[in-house]
Symmetry: C2
Subunit: 264 residues, 2 copies
DNA sequence: AGCCACTTGTGAACGAATGCACAAAGTGGC
DNA sequence: GCCACTTTGTGCATTCGTTCACAAGTGGCT
């Protein structure tokens, strides 16, 4: 199918500029370009900025005008040094001795995250999860209007869900282009996910959120974020097991091998 | 406890271990952390092991008995060196020149992830999302039986959802103890999440998955994993914006090399 | 003005995760 | 038994991310 990339043994051999996110040279040209925005923000920081934004929105609603990094950090569940460093990636908008103005931070984070314009979302697979997503009010209100729904089931096509009629997946490319969909959300059964993904890509969608528990193969210019609940549960399971292990200290050597294999 | 109100170097409220020596010492605090004996598996590797496990299960169903790190890595969407390193954290179960036996890896990963026993799950907030979760067959089949459902709505209490009757949130502590719930899933509106979380903790639940867009405050021994769709969308938005930016940059240095695509 | 208490922004130390490259260990052919 | 070939497991360099700790600003108070 798509993406023949990656099979070949040495496709990654080329040492040439893999991902030089930030090629900061030891001596940055002192003559800084005025509009030198977007200087590599660490991936992890971007995720946190989104969290700060939400916390700040809540603060704004409560009428809070100014706060310190310490306060915001506590509310966001991170330590204050990290918070300040994160904010420093987007500029210097604080006042020493005082703190930050909520509205300024909100504006700046929105700018950096590209939230000054809205991004239309398409949901594919209107089953249990798809219904929940289509009905969820939290996306439109945050600049992510759900502008298209798709399913393969003829009984669903044409039926309005959350006020929007479901289209057939064969129309994905056409509808996505028409409605300028920029983000596709896949909520189909795993077996259908790759095919759906391919269609979305064919329709010009370059950002995808995938709920189906499969690894999608996509061209390089497409970005996929997976939301995998089973993995989350298993990570928790791991920590539970780890915790239990460290309890019974002595016989820790790979305890039992009781072959109680679950399911499968 | 957190004590240390205040100034001196950041005090953190996060898990803590390294006691920051209060006095500023010219020399770094003597590195004393011998207790960290267990060769810990990197957090990031744990998440990937869960993915490998799923891919391997699929392989097993297809009757594949043996495979190489290269093959598994391709199927899991990672590079093979990383895959081998990840596997090396759990032991040496491969055969040089040959590869890995699928069934062995499945067993070992399940052992490490603590999947040799099942973990009962409780879902709180049986709305759109909660219904989807309660009806989802993917959890029970992977060793995470949904053993309790809770909601505050009197019209819902007693109604079976996915074959299991909904209980009232006031019974969280009691029911969780009775049914030995080990993982709680929060799918309530944001405003109710913290209160629900507190009850789960009171009921002895030490692992929580939170779908509500709020930062939960929990005691140290409780682990929370948040699933935040809005954040995912905003991260995608950020990359879209960034991509657009690098487009309209006049053909300066950035040009080709900047394959800044972080998420791959 | 001068002092002081407070808070930001950031260089630098530290630590975690990734990717490379190759010795070691195995298989199969002869 | 030896050689050619394959693939694992891991030491090492590198890159990415977090935390520390402090100079540099800011505003209030006397
Ligand atoms: N329900 C959950 O709580 C949950 C949790 C985690 C992951 N998931 C994953 O999310 C996905 C959806 O779960 P669900 O519970 O909503 O499943 P579901 O069976 O309720 O819904 C799937 C929907 O996809 C549609 N569909 C099937 N093939 C399709 C195709 N080729 N193109 C478009 N649509 C197609 C079906 O008609 C159906 O409406 C699954 O991959 C599941 O593993 C679900
Ligand atoms: N629906 C989605 O697709 C989606 C996506 C992302 C995040 N979320 C988040 O997930 C959560 C649930 O979303 P939803 O769409 O299912 O909402 P919903 O309104 O459909 O359901 C919420 C349910 O929680 C119950 N509830 C309210 N207060 C409660 C309390 N104190 N204790 C227990 N139950 C209580 C309500 O009775 C209702 O049944 C929300 O926080 C939402 O922001 C939902």
């Amino acid at each position: 199918m798509a993406a023949a990339r990656g099979q070949r043994g040495g496709d990654r051999d080329v040492p040439a500029a893999p991902n030089a996110a930030e090629v900061t040279m030891p001596i940055p040209p002192v003559s800084d370009t005025p509009m030198q925005r977007a200087r590599a923000i660490p991936e992890a920081a971007v995720a946190r900025l989104a969290v700060y934004l939400r916390v700040l929105s809540g603060m704004a609603e409560q009428g809070i005008v100014t706060l310190s990094s310490e306060e915001l950090a506590a509310a966001a569940g991170v330590n204050s040094a990290k918070l300040r460093k994160d904010l420093s990636y987007i500029g210097s908008y604080g006042t020493r001795g005082v703190g930050y103005e909520v509205s300024v931070l909100v504006d700046q984070i929105e700018r950096i995250l590209g939230l000054t314009r809205s991004h239309s979302v398409a949901v594919v697979g209107i089953g249990n999860l798809g219904h929940a997503l289509a009905n969820y009010g939290g996306f439109p209100s945050r600049g992510f209007p759900v502008a298209a729904l798709f399913d393969v089931d003829p009984d669903l096509v044409g039926v309005p869900v959350g006020g929007l009629p479901v289209s057939h997946i064969d129309d994905i490319p056409k509808v996505c282009a028409e409605r300028e969909i920029s983000i596709g959300v896949i909520a189909t059964p795993p077996a259908a996910a790759q095919a759906v993904c391919d269609r979305l890509v064919a329709g010009g969608v370059a950002s995808i959120v995938n709920f189906a528990p499969v690894v999608l193969q996509v061209p390089d210019h497409v970005e996929v974020r997976k939301v995998d609940l089973a993995v989350e549960l298993q990570i928790l399971s791991f920590h539970v097991a780890r915790r239990a292990d460290s309890m019974n200290v002595n016989g820790s050597a790979l305890g039992n091998v009781d072959g109680v294999v679950i399911g499968r």
